[in-house]
């Protein structure tokens, strides 16, 4: 099989993993040195595909031969897809070639499970080691971690990779048992724990070898099972707490060819995925608890964003006086982000905040208006019922897919 044919198959096989981040790595430079590659902490999206998703890394599987039969996965052993396998040297060649062309900032390598978890993990490590040691490659490397692999192999992977990830796959153990019979929640969490431990040791001990400086992430598939958003967000919150994950990725389940009837064959729930990312961002960046966003069972609203939904359910905190309120409370106002909140606080040290300042800061005024007070403005709608406000602020239902 020609290299280009392998690439066509193994990129197609890898694309259902949503993560493509190249951020969070320490600063590295190749200026005046042999070898190539740099990282700066900030990720770079080198291209975007017509699905609007970023291409930052060469995201491929080492092989899509797989012994597992996860129902949601296009590469499950019962799937009738073309199969291929790269040699480690081929992956290195592709990475360096694309990197020199400035098409990517690094490699995200995963694999189907072949022979055993340990054997598969060893193959992934071999590629990373070749890149780092033989080719002095200083770009970004993200390695997928095979949950059942020996912790010593995970430790070795952490020395070469910037980021490691173990996919939680599904939000509940019951779904995992039903749809991914060879995977176990216990070993997935053990692998996350090993990575977390490696990170903590590298941080505390000065002379410890470096370990995955961009931390670990995971992915949950949305819509392959019937789990609600509340369970998903609480699962994500506990992963952030227990293993200090940098990111939880939510991947709307995309229909796969020859779909087994255990999983849906319908358009991916893209709007639902978008709302989950918004809610996740509110937990990571705004100090919201999962229970504030969804207190009981159920799903996030699709017609309004989760911050607006929270504000409408908690009218007793509003309107917020932008000239007096704590910065964290200003950032909780719908239509005003963390950055705008900081800028408002900087501005009010110089003078009183007026309504037109919000226009200049490009806040989403229609959303913010009912919830704020400025020197020259009080909301007429302050006493209006939440239900009416919601009707007024609801986004027109958008048809996201064609079928």
């Amino acid at each position: 099989m020609q290299l280009i044919e392998k690439l066509t198959v193994l990129a197609d096989a890898a694309k259902y993993d949503a993560s493509c981040a190249s951020s969070g790595a320490p600063t590295r430079s190749s200026k005046g040195k042999s070898g190539i590659g740099s990282t700066s902490g900030m990720g770079i999206c080198h291209s975007f595909t017509p699905d609007g998703r970023c291409v930052a890394l060469l995201k491929i599987l080492l092989t899509n031969f797989c012994l597992y039969d996860c129902q949601y996965c296009v590469n499950r052993r019962s799937s009738d897809v073309p199969r291929a396998r790269f040699t480690p040297e081929e992956v290195v060649t592709l990475t360096i070639d694309f990197y020199k062309r400035n098409c990517i900032s690094g490699l995200f390598l995963s694999s189907g499970i072949i022979r055993s978890a340990d054997y598969t993990m060893e193959q992934l490590i071999r590629v990373a080691k070749l890149l780092r040691e033989e080719h002095e490659f200083r770009g970004y490397i993200h390695l997928k971690t095979i949950p059942d692999a020996d912790p010593l192999l995970i430790a070795e992977a952490g020395r070469y990779a910037d980021r490691l990830s173990v996919n939680i796959e599904l939000p509940t153990e019951a779904s995992l048992i039903r749809l991914a019979p060879e995977k176990q929640l216990r070993t997935i969490k053990q692998a996350m724990h090993s990575i977390h431990l490696g990170e903590s040791e590298a941080r505390v001990e000065v002379r410890a070898p470096r370990f995955a400086p961009a931390g670990q992430s995971t992915q949950m598939i949305i819509g392959a099972d019937a789990t609600d958003d509340s369970t998903i967000l609480h699962t994500a919150a506990s992963l952030y707490d227990n293993y200090r994950l940098r990111r939880v990725y939510y991947s709307a389940f995309s229909p796969i060819p020859q779909s087994p009837n255990t999983v849906p064959f319908e358009a991916p729930p893209l709007l639902r995925e978008h709302r989950l990312y918004q809610a996740d961002f509110l937990m990571r960046g705004y100090g919201f608890e999962a229970s504030e966003l969804l207190s009981g069972p159920g799903n996030l609203a699709l017609d309004i964003d989760p911050k607006l939904a929270w504000a409408l359910n908690n009218r007793e905190h509003f309107p917020v006086d932008l000239n007096r309120a704590e910065p964290a409370m200003i950032a909780r106002v719908p239509g005003i982000g963390v950055l705008s909140a900081k800028r408002l606080v900087a501005l009010r040290r110089q003078r009183r905040i007026r309504f037109e300042d919000l226009t200049r800061l490009r806040c989403a005024l229609e959303k913010a208006k009912p919830f704020i007070v400025t020197q020259d403005y009080r909301p007429l709608q302050a006493s209006r019922e939440s239900l009416l406000l919601r009707q007024q602020l609801s986004e027109a239902p958008a048809q996201m897919a064609l079928w």
Partner: protein, 292 residues
């Protein structure tokens, strides 16, 4: 109205602005001429201004100078007046002029944001073409069309990225060449550099195009998200640019039903026979199954 002539560079503007500030000339009294015209700084200035004893130059926060230098990269008909207005107001003690919520500050920050974004576009969307090893000159060449004057300040990034490889980036206005040790910046861009960058002898793009087509998920087609992140003006200089409309129309014509790339769907598949009852492949060396 005084016409302030200078060479069009930020350093030149800064010198001129310092002098005008010392003479107490307010923004509405100054007309900036950064076209390298050889007229004097005060060629229309009435004598009272010229003979005023120059005051001590006011203290300007270093951070403001950095903001102004960066904002000066923003291409606009009259790029200097706003900068002097902000400088003047801060020199008068009105530091709100530097803030994004202010009437002038918001304009300044809008320019800063556009300049940062354009530097990021350079880092993201430049595409180098390797040249044959036997030829003289840079190993990698790229043609890029930035919307603002960011090439000089933003190109160091590639020296860090590409180590000792030599490279050249040419634009319609300026060009930059890294010889493995030093950066050489030229404005205007030499014809030879433009020729090298626009006619690369590169036949190695097929792999990247295959990857781009395969990593796209047609079930998630989303044109507006694509155009927000990858502005259409860049498509013509990207090797994958011509593929974008093709992939979109394939997706709309039926490929959207599932996520698989058309090139993969056309190939014969292969499911794997594996006896689960025998032994589940969990930890350890469960079952050697050389499937390839």
């Amino acid at each position: 109205m005084h016409s302030a002539h200078f060479d069009g560079s930020f350093a030149g503007w800064r010198e001129a602005a310092r002098t005008l500030l010392c003479h107490g000339l307010a923004p509405h009294q100054v007309n900036w001429r950064g076209d390298g015209d050889s007229g004097g700084l005060f060629d229309q200035a009435p004598s009272p201004v010229n003979t005023q004893p120059a005051a001590e130059p006011p203290r300007i926060p270093r951070q403001l100078l950095e903001l102004l230098q960066s904002a000066a990269c923003f291409r606009v008909e009259d790029r200097w007046s706003l900068l002097y207005r902000v400088l003047w107001r801060v020199a008068q003690g009105d530091r709100a002029a530097m803030l994004p919520g202010d009437i002038d500050g918001s304009q300044l920050h809008k320019r800063l944001k556009a300049v940062r974004r354009e530097a990021h576009h350079l880092h993201a969307f430049v595409r180098f073409h390797p040249r044959p090893e036997t030829v003289e000159g840079p190993q990698l060449v790229a043609w890029h069309e930035p919307a603002h004057d960011i090439l000089h300040s933003a190109s160091e990034h590639f020296a860090e990225r590409l180590g000792r490889s030599t490279w050249l980036i040419a634009t319609p206005d300026d060009g930059i060449y890294w010889d493995g040790r030093h950066l050489h910046y030229q404005r205007p861009c030499p014809d030879e550099w433009q020729r090298l960058a626009q006619t690369p002898e590169d036949d190695g793009q097929a792999l990247w195009l295959a990857y781009y087509g395969s990593t796209f998920n047609p079930a998630r087609l989303n044109r507006s998200a694509l155009e927000n992140s990858l502005p259409v003006r860049f498509w013509k200089n990207l090797p994958e640019g011509p593929l974008i409309p093709q992939l979109m129309s394939q997706a709309r014509a039926g490929a959207q039903r599932d996520g698989q790339a058309t090139a993969v769907a056309q190939q014969a598949g292969k499911s794997i026979r594996y006896n689960v009852a025998k032994k589940p492949p969990i930890s350890g060396n469960a079952d050697p199954a050389p499937h390839h």
